[in-house]
Symmetry: C2
Subunit: 159 residues, 2 copies
DNA sequence: TATTGTTATACTCTATAACTATA
DNA sequence: TATAGTTATAGAGTATAACAATA
């Protein structure tokens, strides 16, 4: 029964994936990111993976502008989630770091999001859960590939 | 080979689902919603499913406030995606409708998003795609249940 | 008076342009 | 002069509070 898998055409799967994506959006919308706004979240997540980058690099990563990013950082520094450090090699640069509180905040948010997910996943039969995992792992691999390939020239900042 | 499904524990699946969710976010971020902002998108999507609702109902559906929603609608009306109509039964009310252009805009966006998804899905082996579909359909069912249950008192509209 | 919607005002986020400081 | 970052100013989105119109 669990092995019955009708019509795996991309268009069909795209539809159910899109639906799942929208549900996930609603679900995660409940795991509030307060006291950080959505924009501030993007800064924190970027810094988590590229700690110590300068402001221009950060604003490029966000597809934003230096002034906007500077103001975002103002507030994140003010609430103690981010730290600014003047560059040692080039004193014009500002090195941005996640503070200890910033790190703890992200860990906490992730935990809350995964809890929201688990509340749903435990409602699923074990074999469906296993199918979901199998399918999503392949999806993640394919998505990472696709993003890497088409991401090469989607940077727009080509001068 | 395709039937090997290790450890379907919720925590494990939650992790891969969270990763897939973040990938989807990046993927869809490319299918730009311009000329509508994210907030305007929420208005359009809500109107699509509840055409003709009044402003207060809309603002409640968005978990926003009447003044903010009124301003959002100002701009959507200005660009021709939404229409305001005075209520026939109660002349205080404003009935909000998606315009023809508004509908076309949503159709187009959905098509672009599903194309982004299909580009990824076609990279997956057919059996993984089938597993993904099986798992996601169960996920959607469970998520709908979960949201309905815990949504009962998070709706604020208990009246 | 209670309800629907708008206007008044303020704060965040975003952007472009002008400015300061370093190289 | 070129580059890194900030400040100046403006527009969109959001909120609370005060208001207008209708019931």
């Amino acid at each position: 029964m669990a092995a019955f898998r009708p019509r795996p055409e991309p268009a069909e799967v795209a539809r159910v994936t899109a639906t799942a994506g929208e549900l996930l959006e609603v679900l995660w919308g409940r795991a509030s990111t307060a006291p950080a706004s959505a924009s501030q979240m993007r800064v924190l997540l970027t810094l988590e993976h590229q700690d110590g980058i300068n402001l221009r690099t950060l604003s490029a990563a966000l597809a934003s502008t230096p002034p906007s990013t500077s103001r975002l950082c103002d507030r994140l520094v003010a609430v103690g989630l981010v730290e600014r450090v003047v560059g040692r090699a080039d004193r014009r640069e500002v090195r941005l770091h996640l503070s200890t509180r910033g790190r703890a905040f992200l860990d906490d948010l992730r935990a809350r999001r995964e809890q929201e997910l688990q509340a749903v996943l435990t409602l699923m039969p074990a074999d469906k859960r296993a199918a979901l995992r199998e399918g999503l792992e392949a999806f993640c691999d394919a998505a990472a590939l696709q993003m890497h390939d088409s991401g090469v020239r989607s940077d727009d900042r080509t001068a």
